[in-house]
């Protein structure tokens, strides 16, 4: 039976969204899409959600729908994409604060005026917002040299499920003041709190960038070469092996820095493995290919749904992990594409899912194969799905700890529910200490 959202509730949500906001109801009248443009709007919507016990799903990506909402079960889709803009930017301190719905491209543009950048390069930067990137711990090829958003998020303002505004960290580039909640937000899929603003530290933009692409060898050969590149004195900014179905694998290495050093590093590599230099727009295209191809094969062009898994393991186990995953995916009778980042110890494998295989089941199979072969972990990687989900097998002390943290922040499990595979645990029964009044 469909549970409708009553008109009074929609009116209340409209008021919460404010004059710049917007509210739409789904056809089955069970879901409301609420677009907010400020932290106060987020807080008001979350308070309504808590009071009415209606789950909230956040949207931080301007296209594609969050598919978690279940037909006939009431939910609120909190659209954050209008909550955007750079709040503060101190170029001299290399620190920038932006609202969650700010596209990464806007941050890049502002920083570039001062020869600075946020050296994290997830896919679709024009659409990808800082909030989305933080929520999903999105990254791209630059992770090899520059790490993830965890390295750069130094503060945040969030709205807790009960509507309380909370901050962690701040503009200080170094801090040991209080619990680090801002890094806990990275990869938490907005299931502990809704990020409203994020403060990031920036770095200096490189003077030059040169890519070197090497051909000629199988995937294992190329991966072996990548490990040799890793041992060279010039640390690469990006290092990946890209293998598209039907094409020979390519080893791609990116060097960044000052011209003389970059030129020497590229020459050294060319001397080792005959390669070709790639610069300018050709380099951008290559990096885009590594970033974006796994996301949506056929999504725009053929309308064929893609299925992408991201696996992580220890670097030395990467080949075993990739081969184990390949064996599972090949059973789906679809050519397997892959992009492996050996220094990160991660790889994306994707297929055009023509057979319409159940993605969760595939994930389970790949995860089991990878775990057996390399002790690694696997998650689904679909660009417009808010949740990756965790598959960890039987409950462990670590998992119980995750549940306690989730339960602490969101006891009713209303905020982007479904991240953890088990329902949130009740608080421990141990008597709690009382607050001392002074």
């Amino acid at each position: 039976m469909t549970s409708r959202l009553p008109k009074e509730l929609l009116d209340e949500l409209k008021e919460a969204a404010g004059s710049a906001g917007r509210v739409r109801r789904s056809e089955d009248e069970a879901h409301a899409e609420v677009r907010v443009s400020d932290a106060d709007g987020i807080a008001r919507v979350l308070r309504i959600s808590g009071r009415e016990r209606i789950p909230v799903f956040t949207r931080l990506f301007p296209f594609g729908a969050v598919e978690r909402a279940q037909a006939g079960i009431r939910s609120i889709l909190l659209d954050m994409t209008a909550h955007s803009g750079i709040v503060r930017y101190s170029a001299s301190d290399r620190v920038l604060t932006a609202r969650a719905g700010t596209p990464l491209a806007d941050i890049s543009a502002a920083a570039a005026e001062h020869r600075q950048r946020l050296p994290v390069d997830p896919p679709a930067p024009r659409a990808m917002t800082i909030g989305e990137a933080v929520a999903k711990n999105e990254w791209g090829p630059l992770r090899t040299g520059w790490g993830t958003l965890r390295n750069y998020v130094i503060g945040c303002q969030v709205v807790l499920p009960n509507g309380t505004l909370w901050k962690s960290g701040g503009p200080s580039v170094k801090s040991a003041t209080g619990y680090d909640f801002h890094r806990l937000q990275v990869g938490a899929l907005e299931s502990l709190a809704v990020g409203s603003e994020f403060t990031v530290r920036l770095t200096t933009a490189p003077v030059v960038r040169v890519g070197v692409v090497s051909h000629g060898g199988t995937f294992p050969t190329m991966l072996g070469r990548a490990f040799r590149v890793r041992e060279l004195p010039d640390p690469p900014a990006a290092l990946f092996v890209l293998e598209r179905a039907g094409q020979a694998p390519r080893l791609c290495t990116l060097y960044e820095g000052v011209p003389a050093a970059v030129d020497r590093a590229a020459s050294r590599l060319e001397g080792l493995f005959a390669g070709e230099r790639v610069m300018g727009s050709a380099l951008d295209t290559l990096l885009d290919e590594a970033r974006e191809a796994p996301l949506e094969p056929g999504f725009r062009t053929l309308g064929i749904p893609g299925l992408t898994v991201r696996l992580t393991c220890r670097p030395s186990r990467l080949l075993d992990a990739v081969e184990a995953a390949q064996r599972v995916l090949e059973d789906l009778e679809s050519p397997v594409n892959l992009c492996a980042h050996p220094d990160v110890a991660a790889a994306d494998l994707w297929i055009a899912n023509r057979a319409g295989a159940d993605s969760s089941a595939v994930q389970e199979q790949v995860a089991a194969a990878v775990a057996a072969a390399a002790g690694g972990a696997v998650r689904l990687r679909r660009p417009h799905e808010t949740h990756g989900g965790v598959r960890t097998g039987a409950p462990t002390a670590g998992l119980r700890l995750l549940e306690r943290v989730k339960h602490h922040f969101d006891p009713a499990n209303l905020l982007n529910p479904g991240v953890l595979p088990y329902p949130a645990a009740p608080a421990a029964a141990t008597p709690r200490a009382e607050v001392q009044s002074t």
């Binding site: 301190d93 309380t164 200080s172 004195p233 700890l401 995750l402 602490h408 141990t430 709690r432």
Partner: protein, 483 residues
């Protein structure tokens, strides 16, 4: 002997006896003379004797001891080497100090994966000692790295000079083994690059032992750079040194370290065994460390030389020779030790300000100390805006101690007013827990408290730390002032 004159035996400590039975008698200390060394850490302004000290040899022993302590409702205070500077290891509520001093094993070292799995009683510098021959290093390098443990580094999210480029401890921890307040053991993260679901590593690193005891860690190692060059520049004014730092960063140079020492620090160093040949007539010495490929370092060195040269330096010295570089760093690394010549006690503060506010911040620090008639010297991580105002004092002088504490509070308030924060790498501990309302509102503080209660409902883990006392549970904070 007349029974009336016999010294009464102390009451039996059943918890200590249970732990001794579980771990071995040599793993528990209760004799007052043995407990003396555990009254405080590097912050000697506040002391309290623990009820017992436990010295486990493994995670399993920590878990068994903690489980017994939990059953007896005894506060649990984790401790590494006791080099912390915010009182994080001071047992302000008595209880049991759990020392990781015997847990120093390198459990696994994988040079290909650039990972080390260690017990957290290992001394920071020992890890680099183990891995250096494979061309690797562990980046966080607090000044106390020859003595401090990796566990203490994890608890406080420790930094050090080279964290300007490489980041603080939290960025180098991939996984932790945690003993929770009940004795349950949980793994958080691991050798894979990304944790599943929530990144609890971030929550535990810097939590000052209030959420559990981290006993083991997977740590990320990094390759040693091809070339390292250290540049010493001395200036006739602190302002010029600070402007040099800003200009170096603005120019896009990415040094590994950017450190400044002021005139009083130079004076103390040059009169001590840590003398490094710093020019005694300088108002400030700037140490710049560059690392990378030889060409990249040569380019950056040229930039630093040009920038500093334009600011009228008294002296510029640059070296890539290991011995000479060691000499240039000797004074910086020994700065806190050198202060021992100035007065019997030293209060090492830790605050952060935006890098652009450094000159203003330092002028304010000096004025605050002058007003209170306490002697201040400064040595700090200029690239991060991480100040270490040092105040030399005599702990036997109650009035001076009062003035030192007053100056500490004023400095904290001043730095926060400039847009900074209370600590960059020493943590909050008992030193600054009452200052937290300067940076957090009531909602955040209550949230911190609730988070802590969610993981430690009985508030046994390192009570009295990290939160203002009014939020620290029902047991009053004891401790006596060192006066």
């Amino acid at each position: 002997m007349n029974p009336a004159t016999r010294t009464p035996s102390p009451p039996r400590d059943t918890a200590a006896e249970e732990i001794a039975a579980a771990l071995g008698r040599d793993s528990v200390e209760t004799a007052p003379e043995h407990l003396l060394a555990y009254e405080c850490d590097g912050l000697a302004l506040l002391k309290e004797r623990p009820r017992m000290v436990i010295l486990p040899r493994s995670t399993d022993e920590v878990a068994r001891a903690v489980s017994i302590l939990h059953r007896h409702h005894i506060p649990i205070v984790p401790r590494g080497s006791g080099t912390g500077l915010s009182g994080g290891a001071t047992p302000v509520r008595g209880g049991a100090v759990v020392s990781l001093a015997r847990m120093r094993r390198l459990l696994e070292f994988d040079p290909v994966d650039r990972l080390a799995h260690v017990e957290l009683g290992m001394v920071n510098l020992d890890l680099t000692g183990h891995v250096a021959r494979h061309g690797l290093s562990y980046a966080p390098d607090p000044s106390s790295q020859a003595a401090c443990t990796l566990g203490g580094n994890v608890a406080l999210n420790a930094g050090g000079p080279h964290c300007f480029k490489h980041g603080s401890t939290t960025l180098h921890v991939m996984g932790l083994t945690i003993v929770l307040s009940t004795g349950e053991v949980a793994e958080v993260g691991g050798p894979e690059p990304d944790p599943q679901a929530y990144d609890l590593r971030s929550l535990f690193v810097g939590s000052e032992g209030t959420l559990g005891i981290a006993t083991e860690a997977w740590l990320r190692l990094q390759p040693l750079p091809e070339v390292v060059e250290t540049i010493l520049v001395s200036f006739a004014s602190m302002d010029a040194a600070c402007r040099a730092v800003a200009a170096i960063v603005d120019a896009g140079v990415e040094p590994a370290a950017l450190e400044i020492l002021d005139d009083r620090t130079i004076e103390a160093i040059e009169a001590s065994v840590f003398a490094a040949g710093y020019p005694r007539d300088a108002a400030a010495v700037l140490l710049v460390e560059l690392e990378g490929s030889d060409l990249a370092v040569a380019h950056a060195s040229g930039q630093v030389g040009a920038i500093c040269g334009a600011l009228g330096p008294l002296l510029i010295q640059a070296s890539r020779e290991e011995e000479e570089r060691r000499r240039l760093w000797k004074g910086r690394k020994g700065a806190f030790g050198a202060m021992g010549r100035v007065a019997p006690d030293l209060y090492v503060m830790d605050c952060v300000v935006p890098r652009s506010k450094l000159p203003e911040a330092l002028a304010g620090v000096r004025a605050i100390c002058d007003e209170r008639r306490v002697r201040n010297a400064n040595v700090f991580h200029a690239g991060d805006g991480n100040l270490h105002p040092n105040i030399s004092y005599d702990g036997r002088d109650a009035d001076e101690v009062r003035r030192v504490l007053d100056a500490g509070r004023a400095i904290a308030e001043w730095c926060v007013s400039l847009g900074g924060t209370l600590s960059g790498e020493h943590g909050i501990g008992i030193e600054k827990n009452e200052y937290l309302p300067l940076v957090f509102g009531e909602a955040e503080l209550m949230g911190f408290r609730e988070l802590r209660l969610a993981l430690d409902p009985a508030f046994l883990m390192n009570p009295g730390k990290l939160l203002p006392r009014r939020l620290c549970g029902e047991i009053a904070v004891n401790g006596r002032r060192n006066s």
